[in-house]
């Protein structure tokens, strides 16, 4: 939320200053918004005639904006849903998807929490409400306080699909506006647990995650997410209306270049493996 507001203020200011030049609007995922801003900043330094406006609001918001034609590029931390593809078809919009970075979804715990490892099955139990006490996963005897995101978040949908096997979140799971709020809540709450991008994990620790009981626990970092051994990782996307051309094509190809991907890594995101980045470049 805070990010969105700051971005909007900066944007309004920027728009006021530079009315000329061509405009590209980028909107969507709160997970990607920081990277989008960084990319836009660097790109505008190189190309003084282009103005790029970046804002967040959630993947769903971005996709809705793309379908309504109010944004050029939609940033999303999840794929479009069937309903959304159908709606796009009705509106004559041809979504074109490019993955621009990777992200591992970290499981945040308070620094005082003794637990270091959780398996996917336990995580599912915790978030669906089957496991309610830390004692059941080898921790202290205290109720688990669940933190998560609102249902307009791509992370919420992704986590539900890949960790909860599409089951519902527990009713007691608290929905907070934005990953920053989740991280803050967990940092203040000894018995809290939360999820979100690893780039956000400041002031909290994250657990290693086991795919099942036999596999070894993996900590999310550049390497494990990039080579796919960390079990909860995902691609982050840019959606366009049709294959991007001209300036937009130049922008996405630059973001996929070694330089753009290096910026992603500096910001705490996981860069795409080199082959994948090269394969994504638009001819």
């Amino acid at each position: 939320m805070k990010n969105v507001i700051i971005t909007m203020m900066v944007l309004l200011f920027a728009v006021g200053l530079i009315a000329a030049g061509s405009n590209i609007t980028i909107k969507g995922s709160d997970t990607l918004v920081r990277l989008g801003q960084r990319w836009a900043e660097e790109y505008m330094k190189k190309h003084k005639d282009i103005v790029i406006q970046v804002s967040g609001g959630g993947s769903g918001t971005g996709i809705a904006a793309l379908l309504n034609g109010t944004t050029d590029i939609c940033q999303a931390s999840r794929n479009m849903k069937k309903k959304e593809y159908k709606l796009a078809e009705e509106k004559g919009i041809k979504p074109y998807r490019v993955s621009v970075a990777l992200d591992g979804i970290a499981i945040y715990l308070n620094k005082e929490n003794p637990i270091t490892t959780l398996s996917l099955a336990k995580l599912k139990g915790i978030y669906t409400g089957a496991i309610t006490n830390w004692k059941e996963v080898g921790g202290p005897d205290h109720r688990i306080i669940l933190y998560g995101r609102e249902n307009n978040s791509g992370t919420y949908v992704f986590f539900k699909k890949h960790v909860l096997d599409k089951e519902d979140y527990a009713d007691a799971a608290q929905a907070l506006p934005g990953t920053a709020a989740v991280v803050h809540a967990v940092s203040k709450d000894k018995y809290g647990i939360g999820y979100g991008g690893i780039a956000w994990a400041k002031g909290v620790k994250y657990t290693a995650v086991k795919k099942d009981n036999k596999s070894t626990a993996v900590i999310p970092d550049v390497q494990t997410v990039s080579n796919g051994t960390y079990p909860i990782s995902r691609e982050l996307y840019w959606f366009f209306n049709g294959v991007p051309k001209g300036e937009m094509k130049a922008l996405v190809n630059w973001a996929l270049s070694a330089e753009g991907q290096k910026l992603a890594e500096e910001m705490g995101y996981i860069p795409l493996p080199k082959e994948l980045a090269e394969a994504n470049i638009i001819e």
Partner: protein, 339 residues
């Protein structure tokens, strides 16, 4: 303007202003101006009226499929919104709000309870503080003190709700959890108190204005028969000002039910049915704010959110209506029908 002969002035009546009173003659040519002025003001009044009607119509229009569309009714008919449902065979029926699910669940009861809880705590917190501060400021405070208190409380009204929400999320939640040893950091109490802070200035301002405008003659009469200032305040001024104080509380309640940003940030937003004030909760307004941006246009979820909007509209309307009725009755009782 110059002094003119006053037509229609009845010289037989005694003039309280003495003989040199100024009268302005309204010549016929100014009638047109008067007419236009009057109509212009009428138009402004009607704009508000029309805007309210249009807003209601458009919100309600989007909620209509709940009553008419069979496909929507299967997922979110009135019965599904109100009564508990069996979602898994063999498990007990439940009220659940899980709109992003394989089987979307749209029970409004958890949200309704959340909304009531937040408003109730806010009022419990804000009414004593707001009214108390108003009594002190209008009855007991020195003039200088009053000149400090009034602007400062009114400044509180100027704090944007998002800032109050932020304060509750970061500071108040931690403080409450530490002092009361609560299980949940973000809970109904936290949100309710933050909401109360937003409501205090509304109650204070209205109550204070009403109490200071209680006629001087009432106070003087009471003082003349030997009442002390405490008796004057509590047996004369307070009852006379009660209708206004009630009006302030009604306005405050309306705000507490409709306020969005504070509850969205401070309540934890878990849609659960619980009477505990220290559990997390989710309100109608926060639900609309959090979900409307994402919802697929024209889906039953979308219709339900607009239905919630309609409900909020109706609630605030009913509260204001009830407030008006109470106000009218109290006025009759304390000030006589002409008052």
């Amino acid at each position: 303007m110059h002094l003119l002969h006053c037509e229609g002035r009845d010289d037989s009546l005694p003039s309280c202003f003495g003989e040199d009173v100024e009268c302005y003659n309204f010549k016929p040519k100014s009638r047109l101006r008067e007419f236009l002025g009057e109509k212009l003001i009428a138009v402004t009044a009607f704009t508000a009226l029309v805007a309210t009607l249009l807003i209601f119509t458009f919100i309600f229009k989007e909620a209509v499929p709940i009553f008419t569309d069979r496909e929507v009714q299967e997922e979110a008919g009135l019965g599904k919104l109100t009564f508990k449902q069996v979602y898994h065979e063999g498990r007990p029926a439940k009220w659940k709000w899980q709109p992003e699910s394989e089987v979307p669940k749209f029970s409004l009861l958890p949200l309704f309870i959340g909304t009531l809880k937040a408003a109730l705590i806010a009022m419990l917190f804000a009414v004593p503080l707001g009214v108390g501060a108003a009594i002190y400021s209008s009855e007991f405070a020195s003039k200088r003190m009053r000149e400090v208190i009034k602007p400062v409380v009114e400044l509180l009204a100027g704090i944007p709700s998002v800032v109050l929400g932020f304060f509750a999320l970061l500071v108040l939640a931690t403080g409450l959890q530490k002092t009361l040893g609560l299980t949940f950091r973000l809970n109904a109490l936290n949100a309710g108190i933050a909401l109360g802070i937003a409501v205090i200035p509304i109650i204070f301002t209205v109550a204070e204005d009403v109490m200071t405008s209680v006629p001087r003659s009432l106070r003087d009469a009471a003082l003349a028969v030997g009442a002390n200032s405490w008796q004057v305040s509590f047996t004369m001024v307070l009852p006379a000002a009660l209708p206004g104080i009630v009006a302030g509380m009604v306005l405050g309640l309306g705000r507490a039910i409709g306020e969005t940003m504070i509850v969205l940030m401070a309540s934890g937003n878990a849609a659960i049915i619980s009477t505990s004030l220290t559990d997390s909760m989710r309100t109608f307004s926060a639900t609309i704010a959090a979900e409307l941006a994402e919802v697929v246009f024209g889906s039953s979820h979308y219709n339900v959110l607009f239905f919630i909007g309609t409900l909020l509209f109706v609630f605030t309307f009913l509260i204001n209506l009830a407030g008006d009725v109470v106000l009218f009755k109290l006025k009759e009782r304390f000030q006589g029908k002409t008052g």
